[in-house]
Symmetry: C2
Subunit: 147 residues, 2 copies
DNA sequence: TATTGTTATACTCTATAACTATA
DNA sequence: TATAGTTATAGAGTATAACAATA
């Protein structure tokens, strides 16, 4: 009959709750830009260069129909262009527009500001450790963790 | 034109993604017990003693109708009992059953196991720092962060 | 036949509003 | 009138399945 830990001692619980807090706050801050959190992933992935919708779906770990919606919205914002592949005309190659790159920069500023909010009152040395450990724990993008 | 950070350098991003990973995995592990992640919060809160549904809603930061659903499910599992308050007959005081306490113990074992999974390959010293920092960053339960 | 993107549909989670029974 | 709990409904977010165009 060992004394049971209080539930905030669990890293898993803390991550779930903090993740939700960060997501909610991030969504709030992004809404000024007309963006949703999930669309930031698209802007980030396209920074390296054009990509088909299916490649994007795999990389982001979402289903293709979700990509359709995300890209529809980003096209409405003129942040992304669908360019029909001339060789394989089934493919849409997604390109970042200048506006898209600008929005991307803004999202990174928003994220940096949110980091400051979240880390206010945290010892800088501990914050550095946190960054490193979190990155270490993150599974590489695109490897869907299926059941 | 400062070099922009890669997006995994953001603590906010990392927390959002890791939170989602932890939530998905936790849900998976809990399904063996017939539980969903959100119900663990109920079991945890009731450990200290009975509570009305409205108090629970405030503490968990969810809307009262959500509590109704959660408690319905937990009652079906015979983990929780609704006991009509004899003084104010509008109130349902929620009590943990023996089965509920047992399920609670199981969820804490599951969480501990998940912690091991998540922290595999992390230096124990860093893991300790992580625990402390995450707890520090967590807003106290029940104080809804409204817009 | 297989693949890319799309549409239609459904399921989960959560919120709001209207309702009931008590106070 | 106000409050505790409930029900009905709606809105995100994501998934699956069927479909059209192209390979």
């Amino acid at each position: 009959m060992e004394p049971q830990q209080p539930w905030d001692d669990s890293v898993a619980f803390s991550l779930v709750r903090l993740g939700a807090v960060a997501h909610r706050r991030y969504a709030e801050l992004l809404s000024d830009l007309g963006l949703r959190p999930r669309q930031v992933g698209v802007l980030e992935q396209l920074r390296a260069g054009p990509m088909s919708q299916l490649e994007l779906a795999t990389t982001l770990g979402v289903t293709p129909s979700v990509v359709v919606d995300m890209v529809d919205e980003l096209e409405r914002l003129e942040a992304v262009r669908r360019v029909r592949d001339t060789v394989d005309r089934r493919r849409s190659n997604l390109e970042l527009t200048d506006r898209g790159r600008e929005l991307g920069r803004s999202t990174r500023e928003v994220a940096a500001g949110l980091d400051e909010e979240l880390l206010a009152g945290i010892d800088p040395d501990h914050a550095r450790t946190l960054r490193a450990v979190l990155r270490r724990m993150l599974p590489p993008r695109g490897l869907r963790q299926e059941a």
